[in-house]
Symmetry: C2
Subunit: 339 residues, 2 copies
Amino acid sequence: MVKNTIAIDAMGGDNAPKSIIAGLAISAVRNPGVEYLVYGDKNKLIPLLKNRDSLKNIVKIVHVEDWIRADEKASKSLRRAKTTSMGLAIDAVANGEAGAIVSAGNSGALLAMSIFGLRKLSGISRPALAAVMPTISGEIVALDLGANIDCSSQNLIDFSVMGIVFAKNVLGKLNPRLALLNVGEEENKGSTIIKEASSAMERSNLSKYYVGFVEGDKIITGNFDIVVCDGFSGNIMLKTAEGTAKLCSEYLKQIFNSSFLGKISFAIGRSSFLGLRKKLDPRKHNGAVLLGLNGIVVKSHGGADSISFAHAVDLATEMSIGNYNDLIKKELNNLKSMH
Amino acid sequence: MVKNTIAIDAMGGDNAPKSIIAGLAISAVRNPGVEYLVYGDKNKLIPLLKNRDSLKNIVKIVHVEDWIRADEKASKSLRRAKTTSMGLAIDAVANGEAGAIVSAGNSGALLAMSIFGLRKLSGISRPALAAVMPTISGEIVALDLGANIDCSSQNLIDFSVMGIVFAKNVLGKLNPRLALLNVGEEENKGSTIIKEASSAMERSNLSKYYVGFVEGDKIITGNFDIVVCDGFSGNIMLKTAEGTAKLCSEYLKQIFNSSFLGKISFAIGRSSFLGLRKKLDPRKHNGAVLLGLNGIVVKSHGGADSISFAHAVDLATEMSIGNYNDLIKKELNNLKSMH
């Protein structure tokens, strides 16, 4: 496998391929030595690369005339695994030409095609979308964030195993603490499925990581490193947090612009406020990883701009060069054999 | 029914009965002419009322020696409907002595006892917890927020009817727009249940209110007036929004306290920042209403302080004096006969 080559679906996402190429240029500066296999329409890509000398020798375009649209059904997309930019980029990881693939395209199609092309890791019932979220006390990993709408208790346990491995190897937490997202902290709260998962974890070797249920308002205090949930509520949680952070930024902007004193106040506290905006900037945390496959798949936000897409490429690069998938496979076997 | 009498469970919540009595004192000033039937241990309540002359003539203590604990199972609590502060306060609404009841106690017990004591409105399959949420463009109502963990499509449709009535009569929106919380806006997104509810609404007379699916990050832009969801994801949404807003306040506080320039900046923009803090203050929106019963039941946050509890009492008072439950029953009949 060529670890320092990243496969890019250049045609997925609302701002493709423009923000994709601009994003690569940003990420390339931060990750010298990395090369990109870019799948897309060369008639659109070549003009975008024209004035980007920095990408000249590290981008290889693979011309593809077909791509998956945002509103296509996942089941339909599977038939075009060998003709589309998304399908072929995944293929590059499957056959070892690239160490990871990044796409800002249709999530359902990316999930279906990745399972089809890369196959699930042995012992994992369903792959899960994981992402890093900022909290008061640092970064945590949350999963599943939308790959699985309905989940069994076994799915939640598998997500827990993958979350532990991610927290150890990507976030560098030696003894990660794991919580299950629920509507209350008491044992009798929640659905039958979540209660089953909780008691199964307490009985297994996962118990040394498991700290119990967590509610939505406690996510942000970060008294744990992993939060596990079904894909429906995980998606609601992640997006609500994004939306609320945006609302706060909006309000702050209004204050600074609404009055003369507000403007002076901003001028004086400028660097701190810009620091805050950076902290709240969801683009910094763009990039959800599809865990549980024989290959690294990073899903960028569909509406990603270049800065945002660059962060998704950074994450894929870090995971590929760091051999994370090998580490994940190894630790997965250890943990699975334990519980 | 004595509209201007509110029944209070003085023993429920982490800070009861102290913050309950202090909260009443705050709400009483804002709502002259209102009286309170306060259920709780007189040995604890009388000392708290000692220096509160403003409450002297408007509070009537009903001595109760038993109350529901935070961790009790709802099923167990039902047996004590006639001996506990919560049960007797609900009873006061059932027999017409009070127009509404407020409790900061055990949610599960409050739900079970209220259904038992007040009975469901005709045609409603399950009552739902509704609350007002702030957005960029104003206030919206969200339901269910935790009363029902698993929901059928019929439940979601019933919640929609109740949400429409609430938005019209409590928020004063003449033509409220209703959205279903989902993991995507496209028709094929989400669980079978949510897809069924959506197509049933499109075929019914509710279609003139229904605007489609909404994702978690769009809640805050408020391009609708009602958001309907199952109790599990609704609870996650509400609490995540609360937690994230708190994180933003935390960050702002850190900025202002971390440096000399930060302190000067705060001093200059002081009134605006305090206005922002007020906007983000979740206490202002404390109080979730249990809709779908023959009586007004307001659930306060268990951790409510006096300011927070006062807002829940305000809401109960407004709904009782405004005859909202009669309006709700009337409009409910109209809407239910239509769809």
